[in-house]
């Protein structure tokens, strides 16, 4: 009978992943440019998904993801192998998302207010039965500092440690923000509690 601890030790998927990424990066540093394509193939969907949920805009996904990978391509030779590649990659992704959100907020200030542009997404829940869309809209209403850890935890399944490294903040902060994010999300979705929670 294998104990839980032993089971955990045997899994070790992260270690395998680290080794794989590291060797690919070394190939790239040694001049094998095709290694970069392997890295992209391995991680692009995760990166794109984080961007998709953070930005709540599918049109921006590929542009931002492209920016992320171009940054990776330019800086990969300086990678110090001190942390997981994914931590570094998701940190770049999160930062790029934050940049875009900032730009969008600035644009909002200077763009004229269009009549009828503010549509209440929850006014007719019967018609809008796309729960995924509702949840994403609700997440997009969260402040960025709560939104990012919540997405990484509840949607992408990151550990607190990974989130802490990706967002460059303390574990305690991550713990607190995830809790507050969940609380806030619950509050936002309060009008649709019955439909969503049950």
């Amino acid at each position: 009978m294998i104990s839980k601890e032993e089971e955990k030790d045997l899994q070790q998927p992260q270690i395998l992943s680290i080794d794989d990424d590291y060797s690919i990066i070394r190939q790239f540093v040694d001049g094998d440019k095709s290694a970069f394509q392997i890295l992209v193939k391995r991680h692009k969907e995760k990166v794109r998904n984080i961007i998709f949920i953070t930005m709540n805009n599918s049109a921006l996904v590929d542009d931002i993801a492209q920016d992320v990978f171009i940054t990776v391509f330019r800086n990969l030779k300086h990678f110090r192998f001190e942390s997981q590649f994914t931590t570094w990659l998701y940190r770049i992704t999160v930062n790029r998302c934050k940049d875009y959100l900032r730009k969008m907020n600035v644009r909002k200030i200077f763009s004229p207010i269009e009549e009828g542009s503010e549509v209440s997404e929850y006014s007719s829940p019967v018609e809008n039965n796309d729960i995924s869309r509702i949840v994403m809209n609700a997440i997009s209403k969260l402040p960025v500092k709560l939104r990012m850890p919540l997405i990484l935890k509840d949607i992408e399944g990151f550990s607190y440690q990974e989130i802490s490294e990706s967002l460059k903040c303390e574990m305690g902060t991550v713990k607190s923000r995830i809790f507050r994010g969940r609380e806030k999300l619950k509050e936002i979705l309060q009008p649709l509690e019955k439909e969503l929670m049950n």
Binding site: Q37, V40, K41, K44, E45, R48, N49, I51, F52, I53, S58, V61, D62, A65, Q66, F69, I70, F73, I131, S132, V135, M136, I139, L150, K153, D154, I155, S159, Y160, K175, S176, I178, F179, R182, E183, L185, K186, L189, L196, M197
Partner: protein
Amino acid sequence: MKKNLQNMEWLSAYLDDELSQSEKVEVEKLLATSLELQKKLEDLKKVKQLGNRVKRVPESPFFETRLMAAIEGQKNETSGIKRWIPAAALAVVTIIIMIVLKFNPGILDKMWEDQKVAIAGFYKENLQPVLLAANLTNEDVFNFAFNNELPLDNTRQQYLLLGYDDSGKEFFEIRSSHQRVERESYNEFISAMNLDVEQKQIVDSIIGSYSKALESQVLVNENNTIAINPNLWNLRKAIFADLLVASEKLNKVKFDRIVPAGITNAEKVIVVNTLEKLKNTSGDQYIFVTPDSIFSESYQFDFKLYEKEMRELEKQIQLNEEKVEQFTLNMRYDSTYKYLTAAHNEHSFRIVVDSNICRVDLPVPEVPEIPIPGMATINPLVEQATNNIHFYAYKIPKIEKSNTEIKIEYYNDDSVYSYVVDYNMLNMDSLAEAHSGVDLYNLDKFKPVKPFDDTMLIKYQFDRDYYHRYYSDDEFKKQMEELQKELQQMSEELNKQKIRVKSEVTKSPKK
């Protein structure tokens, strides 16, 4: 409160399995005793589960291709220091400009002024009064005073129209003649005022005095510049007022009928003042209308100098015309007509070159009657001429196919010379054909195909009588008959051929 919040955060972390073993035990203890915490955990679990219901972004099949293309594209862009070259250059230029402006603050203004002066100078070049060229008549000046129109050229194709807009501001337009109504205003005015010849002369002199002043008001040049002196508006008013005042004096009865209100003394004062003001106005400010701008600049048009130049030019033209009129070209030609009298041997043409025309006067030609001489008078002349021509005849022997050489013997003084000529080289037939009408007797003219040496340039002495005999011989008749037969035969053969060709054509297979 703080403890409560920490409990909640722990509850959330407990849900995520992110607590240490001791923390987990503690939370489980709390949960076992608190319904509130149990409910909170349940709520948090539901919120957490919402994450599972979020759909993932659809895959982008061309993402990698586009990414690699973008990376390649960026690689090709200028990188490193090169990227900063344009910005650095711009910065250097900016600094230089700033330094220049710091030490020469007025440089831009000066450049601007210089440029302005240069452009204005270009458009001000060679300006000439257009109204002078238009030869203003009294009618034109009168029309200008009363109808605000001035012709700009002597063919009256274009008119300058002065006007006032609703706010009373002056404007001008250049219009083509088809937009204008033809008027005889001046004559109508004279007859309406019932002015006699002397009175008309007075009005004419008033108009004439303004005509001169008007001429320098509109200037043009070959750079398509029109310079208009704003004083033109005042001049118009002055002419108008002057004519009215004069009319009143000349025929008050008629004037009162035309202008019932009359002219008050106050108005007369205004007229006098206007005229006085006009005289004192320098009028050197012109409005320049150019193809690319409109500007107002002072311009001194020296009308006196212009008039002087024009007078000199006219004088010069007149002198030239006089010179031209005096210019006569004598052309001589030699007549070959033997019977022309001495008077007819020499002819002269009179050519007049004017500024516009060149005329050639020809004398009426007298065709001389040439007496045609009778043959009796010609014959001795022909005889005399032919004496100098040597006639040669040579019997051309029947030439065998194998023998193409002719032996020629000739005598010169007391020596006998002989020479063998290749018959083919002479090629008599072709020569006769090429030189139709050539004298076959005069063989000196024939040149052999192949050049002979100098010894061949000796005249051949042929037997002339033999030549005649040859052609009167019966043999010639016989030969002619033979030739006729041959021709007949050839004609028949040709006809046969023709038929055969025709039959061949008809037999050709149809497609």
